[in-house]
Every structure is written in C-alpha cells, then in structure tokens.
Assembly symmetry: C2
Homo-oligomer: 341 residues x 2
C-alpha cells in the first residue's frame, strides 16, 4: 500500500507547496518548471524539478488557461466519429498532438450547420490553441470565416476549401484512378454514388471520375450521378436507384467504402452479385473492405497520416512557420468486387 500515487489526503500539490518546501518564491518554481527556462539558476532549477517530480506535481490547466488566455487543447470538429475514416483521422490528429504536449477535444457535428456553430463557440470559450475542421462545407462555410476573422489558427482535414490550409487526399486523382480501373475492365455504362454535395471529398472524387470517363468518350448522363449520404444506408439507397436505371450500369463507383457496402446491399436485393454481375469500387480502404465475402476494390487513402500531417501543419502555423496545404497521394487496390472471382 505504499503510495506510488500521490495520496489523496494531503493538501493539493501546487506551485506554492513546492515553493514552501524548496524555500523559494512561487514565481521561481513556475520559471523552473517552464521549459523555456530563464531567470533561474541551473542548480535551483534542477532542485525544484526533482522536488516537483517527487511530489507528483501536475500543473493546473484551469489556472494556466485563466492566466494565459490559452489552453494546451486543440479543438477538433468532425461530422461523426462513427465514420471510420474520421475516427482514424482523429487518431492521427491526437497522436501528433500528444507528441507535442497537446490534448485534443473532439466534437461531433453531424454536418449540421447550427450544431457545428454551437460546438465551435464552446471550443473557443475553452480558449483552444487551435481548431481542426473535419467537416468543412462547400456551400459558404461560415465557420472558416469566423476562424479567419478572429485570427484563430486552424486547419482543414479530409475536406478541402480553396484558400484555406488543409490536408486531404488528392481526391480528383482518386476519382480518376477509379475511372481508369473500370475503363480498363471495359465498363462503359457506369453510375456514381456521389456523396453529399457540400463535401469536397465526394464532389472532387466524383469530378475526377466523371472527367476521366468524358475524356474516354463515355460522358456520364446526369441521372447516373446520384448524391448520397456517406453511411451504409445512404449508399444502399443510391445503389437501389442506380440499379433501376435503364440501361442498368455495369459498374458503380461509391465515393466512400461505407456507402459502397450499402451499394452491395442494394445489389443483393436485386439478386445481383458484386464483381460478377456489377462491379463496385469504393474509396478509403477501411479494414473491413479486404475481408468481406467479396473483397472490395477501393482507392486507398492514408487516413492516419492525414491526421498526423494536419496536426503538424497546425502546430507549425501556431509557431509562425510558413505552411502549405497538402494533398496526399491515393492509390487503387483491385479486388474481387471488380475483378470477379
């Protein structure tokens, strides 16, 4: 029962407590414990640090924030963490933040404009050091305007917005890769589950795809490009609609894997098999894609790295370093959902 943990009984271990025991002023302790130490001799600094470690001192974040007006927290806004892609990106963000001594505070916005506005205000009230926006909107995003106006450091991730710092995959290229693959397999009548119109991911993947098909001499009729929610149900609905078209598409590109699985569900309801009857291509390469009964052809994107790099850029920006947006390179992984078995 020896206390490896500071015992709960004694008075809280604050700067003052350490100062008392060390026989110095509290301000000296504060300086000794601050990495950019100045105005304190190496000897006493060492002594104080040892004492602090021994007592298990932990800086009170509330007091620090109150005094400095800044906290060591980054706010993260995402549509929803149940989307594997965002959850994985968040892990990357958090890991990178931790490496630099920061924490992250994440909030789901469900892509609801009012809610994200509200959540942002909460984050700002907590004096976050910066904001990671995972739910940027193409339809006149007011959040980025607020951030820019108030001069809050921020970075976009996953979704792009011209004129704003971001880390994404090269979605135009990703879309082209999907198209290229299906063209090579001889598909000329294809459909797209295009995602939400306010998300650059869906829009650009679709654009890249459609352009490549147009270049190949097979422009897609508008009704073969359907907006869709990003979840399984959304993909299912879009897939069902696409399969009812005449002529029926021989291949379907869904702008994310979860929706692609929904499309596969719709195929089943039509008595069709993915790969052999209708080719299906997804996007992101989430882990389940490879292990499904019919493995999913998909465009692999480095989600964890995307998160890490976004956080890296944000921290660089915070330190006044010059930063530039990044587009990570995706690549296609062909599996049975297009190759057949």
């Amino acid at each position: 029962m020896t206390s490896d943990v500071p015992s709960p009984r004694d008075e809280p271990v604050t700067l003052a407590a350490i100062a008392a025991r060390a026989g110095v002023h509290v301000s000296t302790v504060s300086r000794a414990l601050t990495p950019g130490a100045n105005g304190v001799s190496p000897a006493t600094a060492q002594r104080i640090r040892a004492l602090a470690a021994e007592l298990g001192y932990q800086r009170d974040p509330a007091a620090t924030t109150l005094r400095t007006g800044r906290s060591s927290i980054f706010g993260v806004l995402v549509p929803r963490l149940t989307d594997f892609v965002l959850a994985r990106i968040y892990e990357g963000l958090d890991a990178a933040a931790a490496r630099h001594g920061y924490n992250t505070f994440v909030a789901n916005t469900t892509d609801d404009p009012a809610l994200r506005r509200e959540r942002l205000e909460e984050l700002l009230a907590r004096r976050v050091a910066g904001i990671v926006l995972g739910d940027a909107r193409l339809d006149g995003d007011d959040l980025v305007k607020i951030l820019a106006r108030r001069n809050i450091p921020y970075v976009l991730v996953s979704r792009r917005l011209t004129g704003h710092l971001s880390v994404t995959t090269d979605d135009l290229l990703g879309g082209r890769l999907a198209a290229e693959h299906l063209l090579q397999l001889g598909h000329h009548c294809v459909g797209v589950a295009a995602g939400e119109p306010y998300a650059s991911t869906g829009v650009e993947r679709t654009t890249g795809f459609v352009r490549r098909y147009a270049e190949a001499g097979f422009p897609l009729p508008p009704e073969y490009v359907l907006p869709s929610r990003f979840d399984t149900a959304g993909g299912h609905a879009a897939g069902a609609a696409l399969l009812d078209l005449d002529p029926r598409p021989t291949a379907i590109f869904a702008v994310n894997d979860t929706a692609a699985i929904g499309v596969i569900g719709a195929l089943r309801e039509h008595g069709l098999r993915p790969g052999s009857d209708v080719a299906v291509v997804g996007y992101n390469d989430i882990p389940v894609a490879a292990d499904m009964p019919v493995p999913l052809t998909t465009v692999h994107s480095p989600m964890f790295e995307m998160g890490q790099q976004a956080m890296g850029l944000l921290i660089d920006r915070l330190h006044g370093r010059r930063v530039r947006s990044k587009r990570l390179r995706p690549h296609l992984i062909a599996r049975d959902s297009t190759l057949g078995d």
Copy 2:
C-alpha cells in the same frame, strides 16, 4: 456585415463588464446568472440576464473550474474510437451529457495499461466531474481502484466488473442466443473467436455460448475457443487457425462483428463461403453487417442507448441518487451468413 456574433474588437464580455453596464456588483451578476438563483430580486435578475444575452456572455470555464475545483466535463476512456461499437456508445454518452449541460472529453487508451493510467491522470487534473470507463479490465484493473479510492464518480460501459456500476448488454445471454441459433441449425462442431481475455464482453459472450453447447451435450474442446483481437485482422487470424483444426468446425462465433468479418476473410482464403460452407455469427449488429455480400447473422446490441444510459447513471450518481447497474437485452438477427442463400 451586422454582427450576429459579438465583434472581436471590444473588450471581452465578462461578469465585470455586465456588472458595470448594469450598475451592480459582479457578485450580483454571478448570482443572477446561476440557475439556482438566490439573493437577487427577480427584477434585476431578469434585467441582468437580458443584458448578458444581448452582449453574448459566455461563462469562462477555466475561471469557473479554478474557483470551484470542478469542471462541467466528463472524461471518457475508450480502447479506440475506430471500433464502431465504442464510437457509437460514445455518441450516446455525449448526447446524454449535452442534454444535461455537460461536455465530454474522450481519450483513446488502446487497452494499454500504462497509457490509460496516464490519460486518467490528465483527466483528473482537468477536474472532470466524473469518468466513464469503456475499457475496464478483468485482470486486476487498477484504474477503478484509483477512482474508488479517490471517490471520483464513475461508471463502466460496454465492459463489466463485478462490484462496479456499469451499463452493458447481457453478454452471457447474447452468447447463449448465438449458440441456440447454431444448435437449431444442426451445428455440433463449432469454433469461437473469443476476444481478449481481459475484456468482459468477449469472456462472457464466450461463456454463455460455451455453456449452452455443453448443456446441449456438445462441450467445446478447448482448442476450439481461441482468444483474438477485436479488430478485423484479429478475427482473420483466429478464423484461419480455427479452420485448420481437424475436424474443421462447421460454424464459427466471433464475439464482435468486426472480428466476424475477419473470420469471413479467412474463410475466403480457404476457398469457403460463409453461410453455405461455414456458418458465421457476429455480435453487435454494426450497420455494415446487413449490407455485406453475404449479410451477417449477429446479436444486436443497443450501443447508442448503452451510452445514454451509462451517462444517465453517472449523472444520477453525481446527484447522490441511488443507482444500479444495468444489463441491456440483446437479440439475435438471423441472416445469410448462417442461413445460406
């Protein structure tokens, strides 16, 4: 350009600012803005509240926490948010917390004892109002001991620990349901991807399953019950090992859906089809389960509700109300991965 948002230029709107404009003392403003208002006349309270609203006042959480020693944040510890089940539970937790005016602060622990210990200390340093533990361990969990010893309000979710407040599904029953289903289909030689030995979820689902089979007169040989990680890769590995047994099991129960999909991947590598060649049962009913090329038979568990109820219990406990652990009722959903097509 009229400011719907408090313009950034002016001095920050604090209690003092409101007090000055209202011609009262700051303490009066504080009391007027506190729900359990006392010692302030209804008239001035109303006047102050109107003024606060007009100025867009937001209470500074750092100052409040510093003064009161408590924040309006609940800490949430989960193994990883990329696990859909935990992400969904978290959404339930957060939604319920928001309804009561609280925020949540979530941290991934990757089931690493050292890391979760570290994360917990960070949360406690932030003076969280309570802790939700989503990664309780059966192998002598030191975190719950710390929480109990320091008298921090907490609740377990997803995983159980006898003697500690928790909200889970009835995993013993869930395991039985899976067994019952496979027995009815005539499977007598079955395998289990049992999950991590330190997680009550996997252990109890396995126990329920194994017991039912023993009762039916088909006790499982130990080598047919394999520990496994909870992710797709873990399920894949366990599945591959089970399929190499002689005699080969005609059905496999995986204690969560993600692992079940991994098992399906292993089946494919063996040239086997789920449902027709080997039956597969998962657990949780994550959304993709229903839409896979061969839809997955699984035990549905109410993840969102689990989160909501856990948070509800924690808040009740905080308010000194008597609370009891809950086990939510799961039910089996039969699909093609056991019924064939």
